[in-house]
């Protein structure tokens, strides 16, 4: 008997997508002086809306507005009052959560069940968590009255547009900074809805400014002389460039960059649970996650059986319309990203790894890719070393725990790692040995504003979330100097 799912589409009308979106500077939505950019719905490859972008003069205006707001309003305000604004924003996100989820799915291509159940509630929670810190900074262990840094210039990626906006804005504001933030050019909409929420919350003008545009806008922003703090989430290549450009300026930087997370399966792991965790690790958000578990390391004795289980499970994933509530894997964010993924897959085939892909049907229009696995890969292959940022898993095997650790750590990245074993001591021992900023034992891709997140090595530095995430937005330099 054939069991079919009926389509269960969410209504796109809920998003109330406007024909045109404007940057948000000094408390008002105003035409930018850059060239307009169209934003595409990756699920259909059709135009979704048009966004007015900024030029250098607009960036000046935004930075000045942030400076004025910092000097005249925000740094004078009590932490308790600042916190109340953040609580308001958290509530505003929750109240408009369904709309935000649909906007995000239409603009980003990720499944509605993810935006609805993860991105949007997590964004609200992030504001709620940090709101509570605003009047408790003296308890962070950074002295009796930790000082904010000033104006933060922030650049965020397209993979979690609203959530990354929350990760950046909430701690910055809680610590007493003002911000100028630039969303990715392919996903500007949800943060501009957030701007409406911010405006409705009566946040003083200039405390949050949103400038739209491509990489050149981000580059101008982070290099702007009026910026005191830079926070960037994105590729390691761009992160390196930012660090280089800011050399000698003394500005505090937080970089949250790429990863090639190892997911390590021991022979005693609960295999069905491990399969679910691996699926989550590499296919959540179509694998477009900096901490994705894109390197699977399976203990040799179970590798064959385990890979079969994994393939069977992947065959059941529903790939397609992101707006369908039953969709597990949605659209890749852009054609350019799809091209980057397929180019790296070709390199994997050319280097001798075996490619297996789910036989699921793909929609005709839009940017889609079948969930895929490379087997017989070796650590030197590009697919085992480079971040793929797509629904493609590279599998390798190991024999001993030591070998697993050395293979997992053999990467310039160090953002995340997963360990699957029923033995508690081994899980904790592995967690200590792995050189990565986040370790998931018998789970993967867990996030919480109370738990700090960030990388080792070339995955960047600085943390987001938790007490150490707040430290990134405060002056922590307590060394006594004479000049």
């Amino acid at each position: 008997m054939e069991w079919e799912y009926s389509p269960a589409p969410e209504s796109s009308a809920i998003a109330d997508i406007k024909d045109r979106y404007l940057p948000f500077i000094d408390g008002t939505f105003k035409e930018g002086n850059g060239e307009d950019r169209e934003t595409i719905n990756p699920g259909t490859a059709k135009r979704l809306s048009t966004v007015s972008t900024v030029n250098d003069a607009d960036i000046d205006r935004a930075v000045n507005a942030a400076r004025q707001a910092y000097e005249n309003v925000w740094s004078d305000m009590s932490g308790a009052e600042r916190g109340k604004f953040l609580f308001r924003i958290a509530r505003g996100i929750a109240e408009r959560s369904r709309e935000l989820a649909v906007v995000e799915t239409l603009d980003n291509g990720k499944p509605i069940k993810e935006t609805r159940d993860f991105d949007v509630p997590a964004a609200a929670q992030h504001f709620f968590y940090h709101a509570g810190w605003a009047d408790k900074l003296q308890h962070l262990g950074l002295g009796p009255a930790p000082r904010p840094l000033g104006v933060a210039g922030q650049v965020i990626p397209w993979n979690f547009p609203l959530l990354m906006a929350a990760w950046k804005i909430a701690p910055a504001l809680a610590a007493g900074n003002t911000v100028v933030i630039k969303p990715a050019e392919t996903t500007p909409l949800s943060i501009l809805v957030l701007a409406e929420i911010i405006a409705d919350a009566d946040l003083p003008p200039g405390v949050v400014n949103i400038v739209t545009g491509a990489g050149d806008v981000g580059s101008t922003l982070v290099n702007h002389r009026g910026i005191d703090k830079v926070a960037f989430t994105g590729s390691t290549a761009v992160g390196r460039r930012i660090q280089r450009e800011l050399a000698g300026t003394g500005r505090k930087i937080t970089l949250e960059l790429g990863g090639k997370g190892a997911n390590i399966i021991f022979d005693d792991a609960a295999q069905d649970q491990a399969v679910e965790g691996i699926i989550n690790g590499i296919f959540f958000n179509q694998g477009q996650v900096c901490c994705a578990g894109s390197r699977l390391l399976v203990q040799e004795s179970i590798a064959e059986e385990f890979t079969e289980r994994l393939k069977q499970r992947i065959e059941t994933l529903r790939v397609g319309d992101p707006m369908d509530k039953n969709t597990d894997v949605g659209a890749i964010n852009s054609e350019a990203q799809l091209d980057r993924i397929t180019a790296l897959m070709k390199a994997g085939i050319a280097e001798g790894a075996e490619l297996w892909s789910s036989s699921c049907p793909l929609p005709k229009n839009g940017f889609y890719l079948s969930p895929s696995i490379f087997t017989n890969a070796t650590p030197s292959m590009r697919i085992a070393r480079e971040e793929i940022f797509g629904p493609v898993l590279t599998t390798m095997t190991f024999r001993t725990p030591d070998e697993a650790v050395s293979k997992a750590n053999n990467s310039p990245y160090g953002l995340s790692a997963g360990v699957w074993t029923e033995k508690g001591s081994r899980a904790m021992g592995m967690a200590a040995a792995l050189r990565a900023g986040v370790i998931w034992d018998n789970t993967f891709n867990r996030f919480d504003p109370a738990a700090s997140f960030g990388g080792y090595k070339e995955s960047g530095f600085g943390r987001e979330g938790g007490p150490s995430g707040l430290a990134a937005y405060l002056d922590t330099d307590d060394e006594v100097v004479t000049q």
Partner: protein, 295 residues
């Protein structure tokens, strides 16, 4: 009866041993009046690379040592320094022209600085880590870990206190280091290496090079197996170019915001600069075993 003094050959300190520079080069250390003091090894790029290899090995052992053990070892450094106090006072007086009082104060402060950090090793996790009350059935905690191999450019001025004030916070967190001593003061630095060599510090945890900072620093900043840099001893111009090189492998870089006053109480910025926060998630299961209805 007269005795012709046996002068010391100052060599490098790499992997717990005292090799000459592989380049065979030396330079003259001069005292405060410009008179010849000693020949010191003029370290080369190759020496620096050897030191990084040694530091990577040292890091493997040191980062696995217990915090208690690391504290004891750093305290042992203080003990050994105390026992050689007179020697350091004399050396500092010759090298810098300081008075007995000033030089003694510097050595005392150096000993106290080591004692201060010896007590830090087993408190870092409590101060910088956290138990995270996540809103899902997981036990989550965040804890500081060593960054890895740290390249240090030691400051000029107070040769012993400056060197110890930059090295101690780095090793306290479990890192290993390659320190380039202040060019002018190789003798104090290498004599301190003798203290290290007799203090149970595992080989390679602290490596000290003497020579030209402008020659060595670019290689340190560009070395792919160095995880972090402390640029205290570099001038503003050099700092910028080193920070640029450091970006190639996303190194953590500590740059003081002025000239550090090492006589003041140290804060924790230097400790924090060379630590990574790791967050671990562990499931607790759907059922809470801690409650129940019976009581």
């Amino acid at each position: 009866m007269s005795h012709l003094a046996v002068t010391k050959t100052y060599k490098l300190f790499i992997g717990g041993a005292f090799p000459r520079s592989e380049s065979g080069r030396t330079y003259q250390a001069r005292d405060d009046d410009g008179n010849f003091m000693a020949n010191a090894a003029l370290a080369s790029r190759k020496d620096l690379r050897d030191a990084v290899v040694a530091a990577r090995k040292g890091y493997a052992a040191w980062s696995k040592a217990t915090a208690y053990n690391r504290g004891q070892v750093i305290y042992r450094l203080a003990e050994m320094l105390e026992s050689r106090k007179a020697e350091f006072v004399e050396l500092i007086m010759i090298s810098t022209g300081a008075s007995t009082k000033t030089a003694t104060a510097e050595v005392n402060a150096s000993i106290d600085r080591l004692v201060h950090y010896a007590g830090w090793t087993d408190k870092l996790a409590a101060v910088l880590g956290s138990s995270n009350p996540v809103s899902s059935p997981y036990f989550s905690y965040s804890t500081p870990e060593a960054t890895g191999v740290v390249g240090i450019l030691a400051p000029t001025g107070t040769p012993l206190l400056g060197l110890i004030s930059v090295i101690a916070p780095v090793i306290t967190g479990g890192n290993a280091c390659v320190a380039v001593a202040a060019e002018h003061d190789p003798c104090v630095a290498i004599t301190f290496a003798e203290v290290i060599a007799t203090s149970d510090v595992p080989a390679g945890v602290i490596n000290i090079l003497t020579g030209k900072i402008t020659e060595l620093a670019p290689h340190l900043a560009g070395h792919a197996d160095v995880n972090a840099l402390d640029l205290t001893g570099a001038d503003a111009e050099l700092r910028t170019s080193l920070e640029q090189s450091a970006s190639e492998t996303v190194k953590r870089v500590y740059v003081p915001k002025g000239v550090p006053d090492f006589t003041a109480a140290p804060g924790i910025a230097r400790l924090r600069a060379f630590l990574e926060i790791k967050t671990v998630w562990h499931p607790t299961g759907a059922l809470s075993l801690s409650g129940g209805t019976a009581y």
